[in-house]
């Protein structure tokens, strides 16, 4: 019943992975101290999400209908090995691209946003195209949240902030405000 624009915008803004599902928080809070790094990590995450969506679709269609109980283990093992394989491939084919996002790939594989994407797409019964669109929306949404937070953090370094609140506490509160702002996107598709 879901159509493609709704899936995309829903994953991108209304149900942003970081700001409403709290997925991928570790890199969100850990790496988001510089704009450039955040953008590259976001790009790499989007890429891994696309790969994940394809893997999840293949597994769901050909393997897991016979053995639904192996879902979790299959997702983890297959996604991790595929990403590792692609990492080697990129290293061989394009050292420049590898320098840009390669170092992030192992980090991303263990990110809960990746596993979350595979599980959500399965629970919602998405097909191949829907899965790809969902992954694209989720990945770009992740990048957006990362870049926004990094921008705010870079700004905040210039201001005089009480020592007590610096660090994770402040980042979480900034994220809370961002999340509140993103709530304004709810209802985009139903207010016809």
């Amino acid at each position: 019943m879901d159509n493609l624009p709704w899936i995309f915008v829903s994953a991108l803004l209304v149900n942003n992975f970081v700001l409403t599902y709290f997925l991928g928080l570790c890199p969100f809070l850990g790496v988001s101290n510089s704009l450039a790094t955040s953008a590259r990590l976001g790009l790499a995450t989007t890429f891994v999400m696309l790969v994940t969506a394809v893997c999840a679709w293949v597994l769901n269609t050909y393997v897991l209908i016979h053995a639904p109980y192996l879902r979790l283990i299959c997702f983890i093992v297959v996604i991790a090995s595929t990403v590792q394989f692609i990492e080697m491939l990129i290293k061989k084919l394009s050292p420049a691209l590898f320098r840009a996002m390669g170092i992030f790939l192992p980090l991303i594989t263990t990110n809960c946003a990746i596993l979350g994407l595979a599980i959500f797409a399965t629970n919602r019964g998405y097909g191949f195209v829907e899965g790809i669109v969902y992954a694209l929306g989720a990945g770009i949404g992740f990048t957006l949240a990362m870049v926004l937070l990094a921008g705010l953090r870079e700004e905040s370094e210039l201001s005089n902030i009480p020592k007590l609140i610096q660090g994770t506490a402040m980042n979480l509160i900034i994220a809370g405000v961002l999340s509140m702002a993103f709530m304004g996107f709810a209802g985009l598709f139903s207010s016809s």
Partner: protein, 226 residues
């Protein structure tokens, strides 16, 4: 790994590595299949009971049901609908006479997809009940689509032709009007739109009133919804 002096200093052979992983995988597989097999009957029974309760709730007076799908140009009863196949549930009374359909429907709401079930009497062209199965609408506002008894009651004798219209609270005049919820207009309208869309999608496929498929199968397993 300086803290662990007990590990073998020599690198183990590849065979050993592969064997370890294989054994771990095997043991884990056995454990998972074990828990799956032992919980499956309870899980299936729970799901069937939930579905049955929802169907009986949206179709008053119904005590038996079966799954119906659209195959080869007509509606047929099936014991087990295929995955991803659109399905409606036929509700039957004590005498196994057809009463109405329970129609599953889903679509975008305010926050996320809303999934619901509504009871439909083809003879009267009326919606006679609505139950939200899944929604992530805003607590305190959007969740009134299932927490507000008044709103749910709007769907207990609602004319579906030409289509349901959500109007401002207190201004409902026609049999096809629904009073929207103050503060949750979008969620209320989403529910109405989802029902209208589902009705339109099935309108061509449902048989003429009076020629619904009869109840099949043994009375004993009628209630399971399978």
């Amino acid at each position: 790994m300086s803290t662990d002096t007990l590990k073998q200093p020599a690198a183990p052979s590849s065979l050993r590595l592969v064997m370890t992983l294989a054994i771990a995988g095997l043991v884990s597989g056995v454990a998972i299949i074990g828990i799956y097999e032992s919980t499956l009957p309870t899980i299936t029974a729970n799901k069937a009971r939930e579905l049955r309760e929802a169907v009986f709730k949206v179709l008053p007076g119904v005590s038996r049901m079966q799954a119906l799908v659209y195959r080869d140009g007509r509606i047929v009863a099936v014991p087990e609908p295929q995955k991803d196949e659109p399905v409606v549930y036929g509700g039957y009374d004590e005498q196994s006479d057809f009463v109405g359909y329970a129609m599953p429907a889903a679509g975008p709401g305010f926050q996320d997809t809303i999934a619901l079930l509504y009871g439909y009497l083809p003879g009267k062209k009326q919606v006679v009940g609505m139950e939200i199965l899944e929604s992530r609408e805003t607590p305190g506002l959007g969740d009134k689509i299932y927490k507000d008894a008044e709103f749910v009651a709007e769907f207990s004798a609602l004319s579906i032709e030409p289509e349901i219209v959500a109007v401002k609270k207190g201004t409902s005049t026609q049999p096809n009007h629904v009073d929207a919820i103050t503060g949750a207009t979008i969620s209320a309208k989403a529910v109405v739109r989802i029902i209208n869309e589902t009705h339109a999608a099935w309108a061509e496929q449902l048989p003429a009133p009076g020629s619904e498929p009869p109840l099949t199968g043994e009375p004993a397993d009628n209630g399971t919804g399978q």
